[in-house]
Point group: C2
Chain length 335, copies 2
DNA sequence: TGTATGTTTGAGAGCGCTCTCAGGAGGAGC
DNA sequence: GCTCCTCCTGAGAGCGCTCTCAAACATACA
């Protein structure tokens, strides 16, 4: 079994350079090409990635950094969906992927690994308002695509949704239902998406002539957080709650029920994400659908394109969201 | 900023070899070492992994292959937990990890990527009875640790639990409760864990003098599968069901409730895994706890040790499980 | 026939690192 | 003072690949 290009060259009676051309698509005469291909077929040759990487400066491997608290990474199907989408796109293009999960990998560690020259590019979640890791990555010069983006990232390549507009739309829906004491359970205090959703909520209230403050309780994207926050809002006498995530809404739903209130009769409830379980809740949850796997796929594609033609400049993609109305806000909907 | 060993060598007035010794722990005189360390500090040097890999034949990167249907990978927190554990251990030891998810990556593709000489070792799930990928990996000569193991893998390195004994124990629990028509919803038909759990279930019935057949319905580890299978068992008049996974049990719980039966009064229900939601179900689910993250961590540690001292031979680890009794089988337990 | 143009090929110079090998320095033992 | 060891260091040979450059050959045009 041939192990190196030189072996192949000898076997097919041409030079190493020619074999390399056949493999990488250089210009070679048909006969020569066929000769080499034959040998290639019989030898089951595999190029050595390390050598290729060293010589070409490209590795065919991209890094993926899910920079969130470890226990959040998979408690939520959000990150799982992202990862699935990224993997999809990447394997489709025969690119490898190295993964870093959680925030246990400190900036330092990451910076080290990433600047080892092993990674062609990086996909990183950028939802934390003040994230030195993302800053470091961006200034490192390694091609980077963000999932989400902070204010400061407006000149970076990213894939995101319009959280603010989406939140505004879903709050509009609540307003349209005639609710006047609409509460909001926020996302993590330090998350961009959380802040944007809150802003959208406020904007909607303002446009509707409702007091845009007051009925806000802080959440953290978890069901537990949602439960506690909802309990407070219920005391405040809300007649609707817009939660910054479906998980939060699931917690809120429990709280509402435990308080003896009905959804949507007493309190209309809306989430955000449209995770799989949203339609399985009782009542099914009105929510803002975002195509999470699609975001992952797009991020990978985005990065791949960026690597292919760096001169194209940063690529910014806002993916659409979709308001999904279910019985948690509109009780009379047919099941 | 110094980029290569030669730059460092020049800056510190020694040879490249000496710098390499300082970095990799060769014998160097204290003064020389200090000189180099000083330079190292100021230059923020990062070794080039590709070059190191090429020269040493080691990459510091291991592959992780979750070889299951893509949609299963994260629908279930099982794989997420595994991944989290693996990541934990790996980053702790400063090893990188490349990930392949789902079965969309065909044996061929994988084989290609894996034999590129980029991976020091591989962790792969081995729960499918007939899995050419695992066979290929094992015969490839790349150090491999399996998560789970088939009969044929008894000479490989693996981390697993004793599914059969665990299933037997949980069925014993049901028997001990006085149930006599104990049904079982299996795991995926082609999964080793599924078969083992079924075997354990049967063994328990046999020992109890109950007919060890008949009341078995095929599941697939999903809630949907559990729902359908449970519906059949209910018709068969079971008074207990042992499900091969918690997800399955969640589905079964719905089915039982929809059939107007009570848990555990009419039908005692037990799962397997002790996923986070098991204790949140109503009633809380009796189940067999396995430390999923622990399995992932152990697999990574196992592989790391294997790489360190290959002469140690295969390392087989069976992690303990724990029967967690909750109200789904024993109604009078205090909450 | 001579020159210009294009195509195919091989030689060879790296990419940045590891590791072996041998030379030089310094101390111990005779 | 000599040899023998030990310890530290530098020179240099790869690792397997990519890519440039120029030679070799073929084709086209004047």
């Amino acid at each position: 079994m041939a192990r190196t290009l030189d072996d192949l060259a000898e076997l097919s009676g041409v030079s190493r350079a020619t074999v390399s051309r056949v493999i990488n698509g250089g210009s070679v005469s048909p006969e020569t090409r066929q000769k080499v291909l034959d040998v290639l077929e019989t030898t089951n040759y595999r190029p050595n990635l390390a050598a290729r990487n060293l010589a070409s400066g490209k590795s065919g491997v991209v890094g993926v950094v899910m920079h969130v608290a470890a226990q959040l990474t998979f408690s939520d199907n959000y990150f799982a969906g992202l990862l699935t989408g990224i993997c999809d796109s990447l394997t489709e293009h025969a690119a490898g992927m190295m993964l870093w999960l959680g925030n246990r990998t400190k900036e330092e560690t990451l910076d080290q690994i990433l600047s080892m020259g092993m990674l062609d590019g990086i996909i990183v979640t950028a939802d934390t308002v003040d994230d030195p890791l993302v800053d470091g990555l961006r200034s490192s010069g390694v091609p980077t695509v963000l999932i989400g983006h902070r204010r400061a990232d407006s000149d970076a390549s990213y894939v995101d949704i319009d959280s603010e507009a989406s939140a505004e739309a879903i709050t509009d829906h609540l307003v349209g239902l005639g609710r006047t004491r609409i509460g909001h359970i926020t996302g993590r205090r330090d998350s961009v998406s959380g802040r944007d959703r809150k802003a959208g909520y406020r904007q909607s209230l303002r446009r509707a002539g409702l007091p845009p403050g007051g009925l806000i309780a802080e959440g953290d994207y978890t069901a537990e957080g949602g439960y506690k926050a909802a309990a407070r809002l219920i005391e405040d006498g809300v007649d609707a709650i817009f939660c910054a995530s479906d998980n939060t809404a699931a917690g809120a739903l429990d709280a509402i029920r435990n308080a003896g209130r009905r959804v949507p009769d007493d309190i209309a409830l809306a989430g955000f994400d449209d995770l799989a379980f949203a339609s399985e809740l009782d009542p099914p949850l009105t929510t803002m659908r975002q195509d999470i796997e699609g975001i992952g796929q797009e991020a990978a594609r985005n990065l791949l394109r960026l690597l292919e033609r760096p001169e194209g400049g940063p690529r910014r993609v806002l993916l659409p969201t979709e308001l999904v109305i279910r019985q948690s806000t509109v009780g009379w909907l047919s099941g």
